[in-house]
Symmetry: C2
Subunit: 203 residues, 2 copies
Amino acid sequence: MRIIETRSAPNPRRVRIFLAEKGISVPFEEIDIMAEAAKTPPFVALNPMQRVPVLILDDGTAISETVAICRYFEEIEPEPALFGRGAVGRAVVEMWNRRMELGLFGAIGQAFRHLNHKMSHLEVPQVTAWGEANKDKARSMLVMLDEALKGRAFIAGEDYSIADITALVAIDFMKPARIEMPAGLTNVARWRQSVSSRPSAQA
Amino acid sequence: MRIIETRSAPNPRRVRIFLAEKGISVPFEEIDIMAEAAKTPPFVALNPMQRVPVLILDDGTAISETVAICRYFEEIEPEPALFGRGAVGRAVVEMWNRRMELGLFGAIGQAFRHLNHKMSHLEVPQVTAWGEANKDKARSMLVMLDEALKGRAFIAGEDYSIADITALVAIDFMKPARIEMPAGLTNVARWRQSVSSRPSAQA
């Protein structure tokens, strides 16, 4: 088993943190997506979406999409549960992970992809107005998140989950995406300090 | 238990098809998102993302995000399995559902939201160039999907899954989004005929 990644990209970091929280060790293999390594025919055969990370199982099965890779590891190693427990718990984690992914991680990613000239060969066409609109969307989500974090430890409730991983990686990626944190979000700041101090955050 | 929806919107249809495949009956309650019914304070308290559908459990717990709602029903009624079976099977369904959701459903939705003047109060700002770019993204995904469907019955393999639901609802929404199906996609056409003929497609 091995995982193909580009270490500087945000999605592979979500998988690395997830595995660190599980205590699972998997060899990683670096490719350079900025040099279009994901557009070569052998890579496209592994993942037609031309994105990292990709998990390659011992029988050659290729699993791409960050959350699909994480779900595979949740299935083979259920503890600690990072996708929630029970029907309601799992639905609540799915809900919050999706809010963080579609609303926050996605918006920050769109701002980066559409406003950074280094991305012009990967995001075609770059649309400046759309990149700028996403800066506002990301900031609005952070205000919503601050409200949600009032009086609870983690994003989906009292237990750390994949929703915290998605949000942490997203927020740390605001710097390369050149988005400023809105002022006064004390709950987000407290939560960020907490999740950033876990050993997994260094993964 | 009840589900708040807007019947004409694509995401609630994903839940209706999912429930029809499971043979589960849940009362639906209609609100008009076009008339900003999702922006009222009582609704925002249920779902700060201001989107439908929302599942309200008997104890008042509100679950939003389409796939989170579907996952709740998969947990309480595992058969027929629509999220796959076993660690690899579940990861493969997650991967394909995400490709269909982020790459196809998302692109068609962005084209609709950014190019339809009726959406101008819900998608602020509308960015025409981004809407047009998504028409091409959707068509590229359909070409990829046609290749993937060569020699297999359903999108994630030999079993019908939530990935088929996401793709069917997305493709049926190309008409309101004014995106034409690329010519010559015979595998997509054969698959579409098959999934459209299931009773659930009328849900």
